[in-house]
């Protein structure tokens, strides 16, 4: 062991080992690269897209791919490539923020349920059961109906839909971790509950939560596209892959590419997060590694 490694904390050493393991999985690395590409596409849409997403050129409506319009134009003569690029914004926003919202609410609840047990655990479990009793899209559709259709509300709906399962995962993980020796040691040392949960339990489930993030980001990406497709998410003229697909339906026989490109973008975005998630799960879960 070199001295540089010796001074690393156990956690940092573990992180390093994980990173090395991840790099050995080509599919997971490909997923990571493509996922990052979509994030960059969302951040730098104005620099990447050759046209503004709303700019129409009626003389060039429904034209095929050309040097001016890489993916061709839609029925209003808008550049499809630019619209696909700009749509990454709505998609990444929904994917990342819905997941963050779900985690911000679900993780503390799961920690409390798993750590304190007692009466609070069954109460929380029953509440998650109730939320789980509503199929995901029914929650999202219902909430969009209550809150009104917009990207923000779709994101909130998707976040709420993700909460019950995240509560369960966090609770289960907390139940297991509270039996660990280092937690018992901390209790014996008189550490407060807050310190135990925040310092000892939460950091040790970052791996699990990371995997959960790679599950919920792609689900929320598809969810946003779906809600926008149904008219319950992003409202035109703001571009979104779901909005584009919905608008493309009447032109499916004349201009199939209107259907193909936005869908391909959703597919690649979700696939990339799923590949990354599968890779992370493999390296974090020793059972599937064997």
């Amino acid at each position: 062991m070199t001295t540089a490694e010796a001074v690393l904390s156990p956690r940092a050493r573990q992180r390093r080992r994980m990173r090395r393991r991840l790099l050995r999985r080509p599919l997971a690395v490909a997923g990571l690269v493509v996922a990052l590409m979509f994030v960059l596409m969302a951040l730098f849409a104005p620099l990447i897209a050759p046209y503004s997403p709303g700019k129409s050129d009626f003389s060039a409506a429904l034209s095929g791919p050309s040097s001016q319009h890489l993916f061709g134009t839609d029925d209003l003569g808008r550049d499809i490539f630019s619209r696909v690029v700009w749509s990454a914004r709505a998609s990444m926003q929904a994917g990342v923020f819905a997941t963050l919202l779900a985690m911000a609410v679900a993780v503390p609840i799961g920690l409390v349920a798993g750590y304190y047990r007692g009466w609070i655990d069954p109460v929380i479990s029953r509440i998650t059961d109730v939320v789980l009793a509503f199929p995901f899209l029914i929650i999202a559709v219902g909430l969009a109906a209550i809150l009104g259709p917009s990207l923000k509300n779709a994101t909130i709906a998707l976040g709420i839909a993700a909460m019950p399962i995240l509560v369960r995962v966090t609770r289960g993980e907390t139940l297991a971790l509270r039996e660990e020796d280092y937690v018992k040691a901390a209790v014996a040392n008189g550490a407060s509950d807050f310190v135990i949960l925040g310092r000892h339990i939460l950091p040790n489930m970052t791996g699990t939560l990371l995997v959960q993030a790679t599950v919920w980001i792609p689900r929320s990406i598809i969810g946003e596209a779906l809600l926008s497709f149904l008219g319950l998410g992003v409202q035109p003229p703001t571009p979104s892959w779901g909005v584009m697909l919905s608008a493309a339906q009447p032109f499916i026989d004349q201009a199939p590419r209107l259907v193909i490109f936005p869908g391909l973008a959703i597919f690649l975005a979700t696939l990339s997060f799923n590949l990354l998630g599968d890779g992370l799960r493999d390296i974090l879960d020793p059972k599937t590694r064997a």
Partner: protein
């Protein structure tokens, strides 16, 4: 077994009760007043006051709730103010269509998922294993509604072998019914088949190394009967559970699939209700979806414990 049944049923009833409260309160949160909507054209204060009185809209919330629940339990969800038809009957008309779609999708999922899972586990690390693993990943990542549009593009627009959309009742013309259900069932089934395949593969991997499989081999049974009669039989247990748990995903999937293929089922009814702000209908649809989901989960639990006695004895305390 009996106490297990009672406990599970009790828990399911509590969930349904709480779900009914959520549905009822959720509707209170909807923008717009039901009295105004019900009044339609005539928005004079007298007309509105009459409606408020007739429907008990000025009663305290708990009273309104129990009134609603009492009717709902008898299948009476009121009358749709859009169509003037009974909400309960409208829902009952639509459910068989969605059930047919769900059953066909599950058949697609099992036919694709089980063989793929068994072969991947049996030939672990081989080309077919990697190929079906990748296909499962694609099946999980592909947005259903996009897959639906692609199928329409291929089979209806290009090849012209299947109708793009629409519905014909099975009783009227079974062949035409199945032709129209083929694409939607495939779209809904692929997502579930990916889950089935993964589950089948991982539980087959467990069974294949289990002692009873080694014993079966040792006593000279043919490879075929070891796989089919022993290993697969046990793995089917978890597949039953997984398919049951996917029921919620099927309902969600039906909403969008029926929208794309213009099938007048329960899913399409949900979207119609929301788009038309048909309050009674929204309430009915959401409540029925939740009850259906809870009941299916209960049935899955019971079936599973029936098939696997270990659960009955030790577990169930969750």
């Amino acid at each position: 077994m009996r106490s297990f049944l009672l406990r599970r049923t009790g828990a399911a009833l509590i969930v349904i009760f709480l779900a009914s409260v959520v549905v009822f309160l959720g509707l209170q949160a909807l923008p717009g007043s039901p009295a105004l909507t019900l009044a339609g054209e005539d928005r004079s204060p007298q007309a509105i006051a009459e409606i408020v009185k007739k429907f008990g809209l000025d009663d305290p919330l708990p009273v309104q709730y129990f009134n609603w629940l009492g009717h709902a339990l008898q299948g009476d969800f009121g009358v749709s103010h859009r169509t003037g038809l009974s909400v309960g009957e409208t829902i009952m008309d639509r459910i068989p269509i969605t059930l047919e779609l769900a059953v066909l999708s599950i058949i697609v999922a099992l036919v694709l998922g089980i063989p793929a899972g068994v072969i991947s586990a049996y030939k672990r690390g081989s080309l077919p294993d990697h190929a079906s693993g990748l296909l499962a990943l694609v099946g999980l990542s592909i947005p259903h509604f996009w897959l639906g549009l692609l199928l329409i593009l291929l089979f209806a627009v290009r090849l012209r072998v299947l109708p793009a959309s629409g519905y014909v009742p099975f009783t009227e013309d079974p062949i035409e019914n199945l032709r129209r259900m083929a694409m939607p069932a495939f779209v809904l089934g692929t997502g579930v088949s990916a889950v089935v395949m993964r589950q089948m593969r991982s539980s087959m991997l467990d069974s294949l190394t289990a002692d009873y499989v080694r014993t079966a081999r040792a006593k000279g049974l043919s490879e075929r009967s070891v796989i089919v009669g022993h290993a697969m039989r046990n793995s089917m247990l978890t597949v039953v559970t997984v398919v049951g748990l996917e029921f919620g995903a099927l309902i969600s999937g039906a909403v969008i699939t029926e929208q794309i293929f213009v099938i007048p089922g329960f899913g399409r009814l949900t979207i119609e209700a929301v788009n038309q702000r048909d309050y009674a209908l929204i309430q009915g649809v959401v409540f029925v979806a939740a009850v259906g989901y809870v009941v299916v989960n209960l049935l899955v639990d019971v079936t599973y414990s029936y098939l696997n006695p270990r659960i009955r004895v030790s577990g169930g305390s969750v």
